[in-house]
C-alpha cells in the first residue's frame, strides 16, 4: 500500500512550472503472434493490440502537458520486441520485469509483480492499462494491480475530458451509457479505442526508438519480492484443463425475392438484438 504523500500529482507542480510534468506509466503485454491458442514458442512476440490505445492516450497527454511515459511489461526476454514496438510509438522509458521465477504467474501474481514495479517507479500521476489481452482474455490485471496499489481504477475509458490541478475527468462507455468520472490522482484506468483512426508506426519513429533508448530490466530481487509470492507458487488460479471450444452454429436460409428477403433478414437481425 502506498502512503498518500508518496504519490504526488505532478500536473499541479507542472502548472507552477516547478516539476517535470506528467508522469504516466503504461502496462503492456507481449503476446505470441497469431490467434488465441497460438504456440508460445518464445519468439514472435508482438505488442498486445488492446494496449495500443493506452499508449496513444498517454502520448497525447504528455504532448499536451509535458512529461514522461514509462512502459512496464512482465515477460521473458523475448518480450522486448513488444516493448520496442510500443516504444516506437513514442514513450521515453521502458522496464522489462523478467525473471524465471515469474513464469506461470496467473493474473494475481502478475499484478503483484506489476504493482511492486510501479511502487518503485512512483511518484506517478496516471497508470494506464489496455482493456484486455488478445491471448488470454481475462481483463483482470488492471483492476488487480490498482487494488494492490490502493488507487482507483476506471475501466473502458475512451476519453480524458480534463486533467487539471489534482483531478482527472474521464469518460467511459458502458451498456449504452456514457459515464463521466472525476478522480483524484493518482488513478488507474483501462483505456479503449475511441474509434479514431488506427495508427501505424512509421519508419521514422522506429528509427528514433533505436536511437540510444534502452530497456531497463528488473528481477524479483530488484522488486523485493519473495519466490513464494510469484510465479506458480504465488498463483491462486490453476489451469486444470484447456480445450478448444466450438460454438454451435445455427443456419437459417431466407428465401423469396430479394427485397422481401432483405426485409426478413433485417427484421431477424433486429429481433435477435444484433443490429439497432
Amino acid at each position: 500500500m502506498l502512503e498518500p504523500e508518496e504519490i504526488l500529482l505532478h500536473v499541479q507542480k507542472n502548472k507552477y512550472g516547478k516539476d517535470m510534468g506528467l508522469n504516466i506509466i503504461v502496462c503492456i503485454k507481449a503476446v505470441a503472434e497469431g490467434t488465441w491458442g497460438a504456440k508460445n514458442t518464445d519468439k514472435n512476440f508482438t505488442l498486445n493490440l488492446f494496449d495500443r490505445p493506452a499508449i496513444e492516450m498517454a502520448m497525447e497527454l504528455t504532448k499536451k502537458y509535458d512529461g514522461t511515459v514509462t512502459l512496464v511489461s512482465m515477460g521473458p526476454e523475448s518480450a522486448c520486441s513488444a516493448l520496442y514496438e510500443a516504444m516506437s510509438m513514442g514513450p521515453q522509458k521502458a522496464v522489462l520485469l523478467s525473471d524465471p521465477l515469474f513464469r506461470e504467474s496467473d493474473t494475481y501474481a502478475t499484478a503483484k509483480v506489476l504493482s511492486a514495479a510501479i511502487k518503485k517507479l512512483a511518484p506517478f500521476d496516471l497508470l494506464f492499462f489496455g482493456t484486455r489481452s488478445s491471448d488470454s482474455d481475462t481483463g483482470h490485471v488492471g483492476p488487480q494491480t490498482s487494488q494492490m496499489l490502493s488507487i482507483p481504477y476506471i475501466s473502458n475509458v475512451h476519453e480524458m475530458v480534463d486533467l487539471g490541478m489534482d483531478k482527472a475527468t474521464v469518460e467511459r462507455r458502458a451498456d449504452g451509457f456514457v459515464e463521466r468520472f472525476q478522480i483524484t490522482g493518482p488513478g488507474a484506468m483501462g483505456v479503449v479505442h475511441d474509434g479514431t483512426e488506427y495508427g501505424y508506426t512509421g519508419l521514422y519513429e522506429i528509427e528514433n526508438t533505436f536511437d540510444g533508448k534502452s530497456i531497463q530490466r528488473w528481477d524479483h530481487s530488484d522488486l523485493g519480492l519473495e519466490p513464494h509470492e510469484i510465479g506458480l507458487p504465488g498463483s491462486p488460479t490453476k489451469i486444470v484443463a484447456l480445450n478448444p471450444h466450438k460454438s454451435k452454429k445455427q443456419c437459417r436460409f431466407i428465401t423469396g425475392d430479394v427485397a422481401q428477403a432483405a426485409e426478413t433478414l433485417a427484421q431477424t437481425l433486429s429481433q435477435a438484438g444484433l443490429v439497432d
Binding site: 503472434e33 519468439k43 514472435n44 508482438t46 522486448c80 520486441s81 520496442y84 514496438e85 516506437s88 488506427y198 501505424y200 508506426t201 512509421g202 519508419l203 521514422y204 522506429i206 528509427e207 526508438t209 533505436f210
Partner: protein, 379 residues
C-alpha cells in the same frame, strides 16, 4: 529467418505487416481488376516512410538499411505486388541513383519530395529497340548552353502514369557507343514531356506502367547525374540495388501463394478428407515452403552484404534469379492446389500467378541474370 533479424527489423516487419494486411490486402483484388493506382494508400505509405526507406534522415528519408528495405518490399508485395513494385522502383532505381550519384544541389532539389512520397519516381531505360541490351538505347540529350534538348521514347515505365521525377537514360554523345550514355533527371510538366496510355498488362495491373515520350524537351544541364558518359555505370549500380527489391517482391508473392495454398489445402475436402491429407498435396506444400525459405535466405544475404558494404552484385543477381523463378513455381503450385477455383478470379492465387511471371523478366530477364552470374564466376 527470424534468427537473422535484429529487434529493429522485427519491429519494421510487424508494423509494415499490420499496415499491408489492413490497408492493402482488402483492396488488392479490386485495384487489380480496375487497374486502379490507389493514391489513398500511397499517401499513407509516404507518411510512414515507405517511400524513402534508405534515404538519409537529413533529406526526409527514414535512414534505414537494406535489410529493412527488403522486409518492407516483401510485406507490401505479399498484400499487392503491384504496390510493392511501385515502392521498389521508387526507392531503388529512382531515388537511389539520385542519392548515390547526385550532387548536394540535386539531393536538395529531388530527394525530400521523393522520400516523403510527395512525388513519385520512375526509371526510364527500356526502349522499343533496347531491352536486355541497354547499350542500344537511341534517346538523345544534346547540350545547348545551360540546357539539354532531350528526345526519347521510353516504354514499360513502371509508375509512368503517376511519376513526377524520371531517371532517364539518354545518349549525350551519339557517336561514343556505350560510353556516350548518360543519366538526366526529367520532370513531369516540362514542355514536350508526354505520358502515353497505360499498358494493358497481364499482371501488376494496379501499377500505371506507361510509355513516356520526350520531344525536344528542354532540361536544365544541372539535372545531369554525375558526369556525361557515366550512364551505364549508374544503371548497373541502380539495378544491383533494384534486383534485391524485385527479388523480395518475388518472395512476397511466393509467401502469399504458399499461405493461401496451405489454407485451402486444410479446408477443401475431397475423398472425405482435407486435401492436405493427400500426399501429393503435402509434397507440393513441402516444396513450396522449402523454396520460399531458400529464396528468402538468398535475398537476405544479398541485402546483408550491401549493409556491410561488401560486394553484393553476384549475390543480388542470384537472389533475383532464384526468387523470381521460385515465385513462378510456387504460384503455379498454389493454383494447382486450388484446382479449378485456382483458375478463377474468386481466389487470389490466380493473381499471384500472373504477378509472379513478370519478376522473371523485368530489371533483367532470367537469361540475362544467368549471364551476369556466369560472368562473375568465370571471370
Amino acid at each position: 529467418m527470424d534468427t537473422f533479424l535484429t529487434e529493429k527489423h522485427r519491429i519494421v516487419r510487424s508494423s509494415v505487416r499490420a499496415f499491408a494486411q489492413r490497408e492493402i490486402m482488402p483492396i488488392s483484388r479490386e485495384i487489380d481488376e480496375d487497374r486502379r493506382f490507389p493514391w489513398e494508400v500511397i499517401e499513407k505509405m509516404g507518411k510512414l516512410g515507405y517511400l524513402g526507406i534508405q534515404a538519409p534522415r537529413e533529406l526526409g528519408g527514414a535512414g534505414m538499411d537494406a535489410v529493412s528495405y527488403i522486409i518492407i518490399i516483401e510485406e507490401i508485395s505479399r498484400a499487392a505486388a503491384a504496390i510493392g513494385l511501385c515502392a521498389s522502383v521508387h526507392n531503388s532505381v529512382a531515388l537511389y541513383p539520385i542519392l548515390a550519384f547526385g550532387n548536394a544541389l540535386q539531393h536538395d532539389k529531388f530527394v525530400p519530395d521523393l522520400a516523403k512520397g510527395k512525388k513519385i519516381g520512375a526509371f526510364c531505360l527500356t526502349e522499343p529497340n533496347a531491352g536486355s541490351d541497354a547499350s542500344a538505347i537511341e534517346a538523345t540529350a544534346i547540350k545547348d548552353g545551360d540546357h539539354y534538348i532531350v528526345n526519347a521514347n521510353k516504354v514499360f515505365v513502371t509508375n509512368g502514369g503517376v511519376a513526377d521525377i524520371c531517371v532517364m537514360f539518354v545518349r549525350t554523345d551519339p557517336a561514343a557507343g556505350p560510353r556516350g550514355i548518360s543519366v538526366i533527371v526529367a520532370e513531369k510538366g516540362t514542355p514536350g514531356f508526354v505520358v502515353g496510355e497505360k499498358e494493358n498488362l497481364s499482371g501488376m495491373r494496379a501499377n500505371p506502367v506507361c510509355s513516356i515520350r520526350l520531344s525536344d524537351c528542354k532540361i536544365p544541364a544541372e539535372n545531369l547525374l554525375a558526369k556525361e558518359g557515366m550512364g551505364l555505370k549508374i544503371g548497373l549500380a541502380a539495378l544491383d540495388t533494384g534486383r534485391i527489391g524485385i527479388a523480395s517482391q518475388a518472395v512476397g508473392i511466393a509467401q502469399a501463394a504458399l499461405l493461401d495454398g496451405i489454407k485451402y489445402a486444410k479446408e477443401r475436402i475431397q475423398f472425405k478428407v482435407p486435401i492436405a491429407r493427400h500426399q501429393s498435396i503435402q509434397n507440393m506444400i513441402a516444396d513450396m515452403a522449402t523454396q520460399v525459405e531458400s529464396a528468402r535466405l538468398m535475398v537476405y544475404r544479398a541485402a546483408l552484404l550491401k549493409d556491410q558494404k561488401k560486394p553484393f552484385s553476384k549475390e543480388a543477381a542470384m537472389a533475383k534469379l532464384m526468387a523470381s523463378e521460385t515465385a513462378s513455381r510456387v504460384a503455379d503450385m498454389a493454383v494447382q492446389i486450388h484446382g479449378g477455383y485456382g483458375y478463377s478470379k474468386a481466389y487470389g492465387v490466380e493473381r499471384y500467378y500472373r504477378d509472379a511471371r513478370i519478376t522473371r523478366i523485368y530489371e533483367g530477364t532470367s537469361e540475362v541474370h544467368r549471364m551476369v552470374i556466369a560472368r562473375n564466376i568465370l571471370d
